[in-house]
Amino acid sequence: MTEAIPAVAHESAEQVVTELYQLCRLGLIGTALVLTGDRPTAEDVVQEAFAGLYRAMPRLADPDKALGYVRASVINGCRLVHRARTRSLRLHSQFRSDQPVAWSAESAVLAREESRLALQAVARLRGRAREVLAMRYLLDMSDSEIAAALGVSKGTVSSTASRALATLARTLKEQS
């Protein structure tokens, strides 16, 4: 998903953010949904990311980097959600055996059982692996773009994706 960035020369920050939102909201909400497991939270994360972009626009030297900025903000927002949940679970350790999974059948009504199983398997991966897979296969970002968004090397992205795919294949094979 490589969206064309709105031209900024004659547009206000508000117009740029609005147009970018119209172009990218679905993919970003989908990514946040996959990473957080519930839609209201996913929408909140994306909202916060765009609000942050709106505030940052005057400081962004290159407005063409807006998409990269907002993608990275969404990933960071999802991490904050996970940290908050983990902290809450630690506080209420008696509920640990009943902790909510990151993805459930209620998260979205999916047409295919195969998809549901795949997303449940993805939800059991480590955070970085889930982020890399979502960015690569949902947002169609290149490994270089993912590396820039996550602040890691391209090699790390590649090896993380490779290990995550192998784990997924093994999990799905065991289930079938």
Binding site: E14, V17, L26, P40, Q47, F50, R55, L110, Y137, L168
Partner: protein, 207 residues
Amino acid sequence: MTPGELSRIEDTLRRAYGDVLESLRRDGSSPELVTGFQPGRPGRPGRGFGRLGRVGSSRRLAPVAAAAAVAVIGLVAGLIVPGALWPAADPAMQLGYVVTTGAVVPVDLATGVAQPPITFPAQGGAQAAAITPSGQAIYVATYQRYLIPVSTVTGKAGRPIRIGWYATQIVVSPDGSTAYLLEPSRGVAVVNLATNTAAGFIKMPSA
């Protein structure tokens, strides 16, 4: 993993993610984009200050409903501030305040009109807030473990105070000299509001 297996798992993943997007498309409702602040009027909700919100959504207002000051804020017919997290009111009950992720919105309780927001550095988002008994300042704890003083007199946010403590609740002493920040798993941080410095910590006994 063989190239064939890799290709199959990649296809499965793409289909699964495609189904997620399809389910979002089917559902249709996407949050409305709201940027810029539009003060509310009686019968017409306030909007914005950079948040994207479903204006009128009650989800974010739930904490307001649970708080004591809801009786005050609730009198303001039709005023809905997207992203509202905490309500407060000055002792004279002339102004109410709604604290959101990155701003304090004063509300004229007589007319129900929201005034321009006092913004503060969001620092990952506000986590808790409290107003001093005099009503002259609101203290907001942020996710990045700072406490931000917001003066309701000058309408400006002060320099963030580094606490290093993730507060979920704040209480200000009756004389307004001290704030107590609760982090349930660790204890209470004590902040001297005269000097705006962290004054110490009260550790909780381990459970």
